[in-house]
């Protein structure tokens, strides 16, 4: 049914809401990528089966939603209307949930989340500390809707912003609203979105394009993926509004094929939006035409760079070109093209609906609104968190993230993806926004946040990221292709105890040339992990080079594992777990011995020993 006006949309929305009983029990099973890995599909199937078995399938709804964010505790199940929060739910738990919680409103203690700081059990989603400190403007709806149901999106107010833009605002007013909101690109660069739109709008040319960049490829980052998987209509709505402001009638979603759920849900969303007349010709009877196509990428990291993405979209190898003439003027097929990242597009409907002034009220002077971070690494609560710009690293890592895993000490946090910088403890109170992160040598990037503890070697970290970038460099320009390779080689030899004192100066010299002379941002930002670790943890580099010692106990060539005899009762746990049979059992109550000829320094003994009887130095 094609909607012909804003009024028809509102009538449809009222009908959908009226048909839904807000008191009807609804079981939302998180079906984001993280929960899929935890086995949520089996949990959903178990709910459907159990409800049918108990004859409740008409009275209780089971909803498979997008990612809720608290991936650490998956599979997550939220039961509405009370918003009871169950975590680590297994299919075996399902009959009990239905019999007790659904039918008798009784909580199941073991499935509740325990706040590790207070030891208290928490019953409701909104009371979980991980969620409580967040401001989930963009990501919050993920848990409320089935991403494959446009009706669900209508029910929470979907496409009202589009109707407002088309019928109550001129395209200039829409542009002005986004400009005034202070929204900056969430893909990495932080370029003012409104200004980009304006350049594209004013660029000469009949045909213009808008593109949604869903090629997110940073190790450990998955917020764009989760948005596209969990709320594709929000992104689409943003794109239509943007296209209207710019005067574009064709759009592309460039999404990597490695994100099959994102591809599927985006495709379904496009079809549904077309069916309802929210995409295609004469949208909502406004006379405005706009269509979107999906283009699946092959998974090259560099294709997230706008010009490489456009080359790939054109069917050529994904290699960047110089941006001395902006893509907003000459982009896809040399036509004016506005490219924004998934999260940027997803911010647009809210800005249009609630206004630029409301949006400006959130965040810091130079960075407005919220930002979704993918909080990963050695932190207790890994997952996706959305916070207002300006929240400190400490609040994000300790209050939301629950601090460092295993009671260890915080050492550093790497923000902004592989070419971001590593930030040490002294900057934990740094308010996180575009400008502050740049000041300390890192960047916002797309919002990766990798937490590292005292057992993380900073040289090894730099080597890892350079290795990633070496593999992902397109190889077109000399500084990036050759420079990263040599930097990785130098870091590798430092990690292996073959570093020279002149290596540090050499790293700095190569870094300067990469930063200045690379063709695109992949090369020019690649030195960041090296430069920041060199700046903040120079002593660690020096320990590797001068003393042939890895202070964090990570670099295999420089460490050995030892048995602390007084502490070892000969329990044999390490003997059982050692993959190379390198630990010799000497009898009960006698300390074990390590056969260094067989030891591969994997650290398993260290990890399994509960008594701290294994030492690494």
């Amino acid at each position: 049914m094609k909607l012909k006006s804003a009024k028809e949309l509102e009538e449809l929305r009222s009908r959908i809401i009226k048909e839904r009983d807000p008191q009807k029990p609804s079981i939302a099973v998180c079906s984001g990528t993280g929960c899929h890995a935890w086995g949520c599909a089996e949990v959903t199937a178990a709910f459907k089966e159990e409800l049918q078995r108990q004859g409740l399938d008409g009275q209780v709804t089971v909803k498979t939603t997008g990612c809720h964010g608290f991936c650490e505790r998956g599979p997550l199940v939220v039961i509405y209307p009370q918003r009871i929060f169950y975590q680590r739910v297994k299919p075996q738990d399902v009959p009990e949930i239905v019999s007790k919680t659904i039918l008798q409103n009784e909580l199941i203690d073991r499935l509740l989340y325990t706040d590790p700081s207070t030891g208290q059990k928490i019953a409701y989603e909104h009371e979980v500390p991980f969620y409580k400190r967040q401001k989930r403007l963009v990501f919050g709806s993920n848990g409320l809707i089935d991403p494959q149901s446009i009706e669900d999106y209508f029910a929470i107010g979907g496409y009202a912003a589009l109707a407002k833009a088309l019928f109550e605002l001129t395209s200039e007013q829409v542009l002005d609203e986004v400009k005034r909101s202070g929204l900056r690109g969430r893909g990495g660069g932080g370029f003012p979105t409104g200004r980009k739109w304006e350049t594209c709008r004013n660029a000469p040319g009949e045909v213009k394009y808008v593109i949604c960049n869903c090629d997110e490829g940073d190790p450990g980052a998955y917020m764009d993926r989760s948005l596209m998987e969990g709320n594709p209509h929000l992104v689409l709505e943003g794109m239509v509004i943007g296209a209207y402001a710019i005067g574009a009638h064709e759009g592309y979603i460039y999404v990597r094929n490695e994100y099959p759920l994102a591809v599927r849900n985006a495709q379904r969303a496009i079809e549904q939006a077309e069916e309802y007349g929210l995409l295609g010709e004469d949208i909502l009877g406004s006379g405005f035409d706009f269509s979107v196509r999906i283009n699946r990428g092959g998974g090259a990291f560099v294709c997230g760079e706008s010009t490489a993405l456009m080359a790939s979209l054109e069917g050529r190898p994904g290699e960047p070109r110089a941006k001395y003439i902006h893509t907003a003027e000459k982009g896809l097929w040399n036509r004016p093209t506005n490219l924004n990242n998934v999260e940027t597009w997803a911010n647009v409907p809210g800005i249009i609906l609630k206004g630029a002034d409301w949006y400006r009220g959130l965040g810091t002077e130079g960075s407005k609104g919220t930002k979704i971070f993918s909080l990963v690494g050695k932190v207790n609560n890994t997952g996706l968190v959305e916070v207002p710009m300006g929240m400190t690293l400490r609040e994000i890592i300790f209050d939301i993230g629950g601090g460092i895993r295993g009671g260890r000490k915080f050492k550093a946090v790497q923000t902004g993806g592989p070419s971001g910088g590593v930030i040490p403890e002294e900057f934990l109170d740094l308010p996180v926004d575009f400008d502050e992160l740049t000041k300390v040598g890192s960047m916002m990037g797309s919002g990766g946040m990798i937490v590292m503890d005292e057992k993380t070697c900073m040289v090894d970290v730099a080597r890892y990221f350079l290795g990633f970038l070496e593999e992902e460099s397109c190889g077109k320009c000399v500084p990036c292709r050759e420079g990263i390779k040599h930097m990785r080689e130098i870091l590798t030899r430092i990690c292996e105890g073959r570093g020279k004192e002149s290596d540090l100066e050499l790293l700095e010299r190569l870094s300067a040339t990469l930063a200045d002379a690379s063709l695109c941002a992949l090369g020019s930002t690649a030195p960041n992990p090296v430069l920041t670790t060199l700046h903040y943890f120079r002593d660690e580099y020096e320990a590797h080079i001068k003393e042939k010692r890895c202070p964090a106990g990570v670099c295999k060539e420089l460490i050995n594992y030892y048995v602390i005899e007084e502490k070892c009762p000969g329990c044999g746990l390490c003997v059982k777990n050692c993959p190379t049979e390198a630990i010799i059992f000497k009898g009960k109550k006698k300390p074990v011995e390590i056969d260094y000829g067989k030891c591969i320094k994997c650290g398993t003994c260290y990890d399994v020993c509960r008594l701290g009887a294994i030492e690494v130095r």
Binding site: Y324, E470, S473, C474, G475, C477, P479, D516, A517, L519
Partner: protein
């Protein structure tokens, strides 16, 4: 025409031209390895990096790609630029230590040796061969394959290129001599791509000189719509 300043010197340049072109016209030398006037600019070697000043802010750009604009201030030899070029030459020297052209340019820019680990390559991946074959010859018998450090110039499926006409443009344009060409009697041999390709040469009916590969002449003849016997005589004898 637009007016800009390069190293303090006022230079007039055609609108739409690049800083490198403007400098070359004005006789100001900027080193470059991946640039050639007969193909479109590419920006891979970065040796033509220069500093441009706009609104009081300095920025390093590739002169071969940066469009001239009115009032632009360009500096081609600042300390920062010299350092960049030296490091780039060091990187290229580490890749191709045995290539004369690289050694010479490196020496010219003040780089004698490098402490970086060395390879024994002779191709710097400037893609001039690929571009000339595509843009000038119109055949794309060559292409760049793979990514990053695995990148290389290759023929389709690493086999002898079926559509190569042996014109030798790639060998002619190659700045490092990685592609070589030799005419021996009635045969042209082009060496590269993991082997060699041989082409039968056409003999001039008048002077008896083997002047060009038969398939190249056939390609040109058909493209230009020339009579069948047009290339029976070499260009020298036709005059």
């Amino acid at each position: 025409m637009v007016t800009l300043r390069i190293d303090g010197q006022e230079v007039k340049a055609r609108e739409g031209s690049t800083v490198l072109e403007a400098a070359q016209e004005a006789g100001i030398y900027i080193p470059a390895l991946c640039h050639h006037e007969s193909v479109s600019p590419y920006g891979a070697c970065r040796l033509c990096s220069v500093e441009v000043l706009r609104g009081g802010r300095s920025r390093v750009v590739a002169a071969c790609l940066y469009p001239v604009e009115e009032g632009l201030e360009v500096w081609t030899n600042t300390e920062r630029i010299i350092e960049i070029r030296r490091t780039l030459m060091e990187l290229l020297l580490a890749r191709c230590p045995g290539v004369k052209a690289i050694q010479e340019l490196a020496r010219q820019l003040g780089v004698e040796k490098t402490e970086l680990s060395q390879e024994a390559e002779d191709c710097i991946l400037c893609a001039l061969c690929v571009r000339v074959c595509e843009e000038v010859v119109g055949l794309s018998a060559l292409s760049l394959v793979n990514r990053g450090t695995k990148r290389r110039v290759a023929t389709p499926f690493f086999e002898e290129p079926g559509n190569c006409i042996g014109c030798g443009s790639c060998a002619y344009i190659c700045p490092t001599g990685a592609i070589s060409m030799e005419d021996v009697g009635d045969t042209r041999i082009i060496r590269r791509w993991g082997g060699e390709a041989r082409f039968k040469l056409k003999k001039c009916k008048v002077c008896g000189y083997y002047f060009a590969p038969e398939i190249q002449l056939e390609y040109i003849r058909k493209k230009a719509g020339l009579p069948e016997d047009y290339f029976d005589v070499c260009p020298n004898c036709r005059e």
